[in-house]
Amino acid sequence: MRGRIKRNLRMVRVLINLRLQNLMMFRLGFFGPFFVDSCVFLVQLCVFEVIYSNVDRIGTWGKGQMILYIGTFSMINAINMVIYFFGINGIPDKIKNGDMDLYLTKPGSPLLRLTFERINPGSVPLLFLSGVIISYGIKEGGIKITPILVLGYVFWVAVMAVLYYLVEVLIRSFTFFILTSGNTIILEEAGLTLCMQLPGIVFYGVYKVIFYVILPYGIMATIPVQFLTGELTLSGALWGILVAAAFTILTAFVWKQGIRHYNSASS
């Protein structure tokens, strides 16, 4: 077990080195994802600044909580952009044109390779920007920070970043079974667009089922914020862990079945 972890870590290090060498050759648009994504979150910040200049609360949340929510979603998105998005996003094309053969024949886990082979250091400033937004939210919300709160918050952000990754892999793994996963990726995009703008506390009824269970973007930034503001209930925390565990099992199962189902340049 220890040997396997060591081997995988060495592989991750090699993949990161290769990616950095590649980026040095193709410098065009290095900071592109940073500019585009930071613009999205800054506009969102402006939108809620404007709304809160007209109302004092949205549901039970004040301005500080909403800024924290935007900062947290931005942080999870930044982790996604820096580490795995660009690798995972290419899965459907690799399945369709048969490039997955290459990953299956190489030593090491194909998913591990896909996850880390296209890290994007150009998005690192997004992490700092998210940190600034989170600090602003903490100040605005008058939250007193303790080491326990910081550790708990980091834990929840890490869990939700993994959940984000699992959902991305799961959605793209459908390409193993159907000709194109384009429609599911569009659904993902629509769900993400909505949940980036709306905290989980506004969902009810069928919307809650969709965004808490099926496409759990509704809980991704909500739970870390609720933890930081002391609003997270035990049932809420258990639900967050349960969803992350369920998606881990589901994604692992679908991925393994997909690899078995894959018959080279089948499409």
Partner: protein, 266 residues
């Protein structure tokens, strides 16, 4: 005779849309996202009050239905993307050899796309009104509606001009794709398609009035829900002036930069 060429282009693009039906479905899905966003956000906010910045929940939702419809109709961002990509890969020559004015070609193209989608998006908007049980607020004055129609057409033309101009900048700056992505996000905010601009502080609103984006989506939407009636004339005048100014800028830009195009791509 001259106009007939553009009419043919328009007809071709109406037919082309039939091959790209999937795009309409995606647009409809994103319009649903927008209405759902408005319904959940403003539904929660209005749960504790009757009015926000002069809006009731009905008028707010009506605003989103109309602004979402108008935002969908503006398909001009495809123009800047198309021009930019063609210049970058050296195939913009395709448009240069056509016996038509290139800008006229793109305006006719957008008109074809808009005409095809007009009915679809209208029906979708009506469906959203029923699905989300919106008490739709609409101005009853036919004269105002006619004026708004002109304002909307001017707005669509202005956006087509703007995107054509931005596309042409590729002749000089080579890589503008990143800027175009950022532009789309900013335009969504300043045209009032994310939130009504009236929620902004008063002095910001005055600054916005000096720019054309105020008149593209926000003002027509507000007029159609029966507000800001006094601003229609001003809107028509301001947007017409912006169209004239931008046309002059396009002319100068094209004359200066077209010689930089070598047709081999980057």
């Amino acid at each position: 005779m001259g106009l007939r060429k553009y009419l043919e282009i328009l007809k071709i693009f109406i037919k082309t849309q039939l091959a790209w039906r999937g795009d309409s479905v995606i647009q409809i899905l994103f319009s649903l996202t927008k209405i759902l966003f408005a319904s959940l956000l403003w539904g929660t906010i209005f749960a504790g009050r009757d009015e926000v910045a002069g809006f009731t929940l009905s008028s707010m939702m009506s605003y989103y239905i109309i602004s979402s419809f108008l935002t969908q109709l503006d398909m001009s961002s495809k123009v800047s993307m198309e021009i930019s990509q063609r210049i970058r890969n050296g195939t913009f020559s395709k448009y240069m050899v056509l016996p038509v004015n290139i800008q006229g070609y793109f305006v006719a193209m957008e008109m074809g796309m808009v005409l095809f989608h007009l009915i679809i998006y209208f029906i979708t908007s009506v469906i959203w009104i029923f699905v989300f049980r919106i008490k739709f607020v609409f101005t009853p004055d036919p004269a105002i509606v006619a004026g708004i129609g002109i304002l909307i057409l001017l707005g669509l033309f202005f956006m087509a001009q703007l995107n054509y101009y931005l596309g042409l900048l590729t002749l000089k700056y080579e890589e503008i794709g990143l800027f175009l992505m950022i532009k789309d996000n900013l335009v969504a905010f300043v045209t009032g398609s994310i939130i009504p601009l009236t929620l902004l502080p008063e002095h910001f609103l005055w600054i916005m009035k000096a720019f054309p984006f105020y008149y593209v989506t926000y003002l027509p939407s507000m007029l159609l829900i029966g507000r800001l009636k006094g601003e229609l004339g001003m809107g028509l005048l301001a947007l017409s002036c912006w169209c004239v100014v931008l046309q002059a800028v396009i002319h100068v830009t094209w004359q200066n930069y077209r010689i930089k195009y070598d047709g081999v791509g980057i």
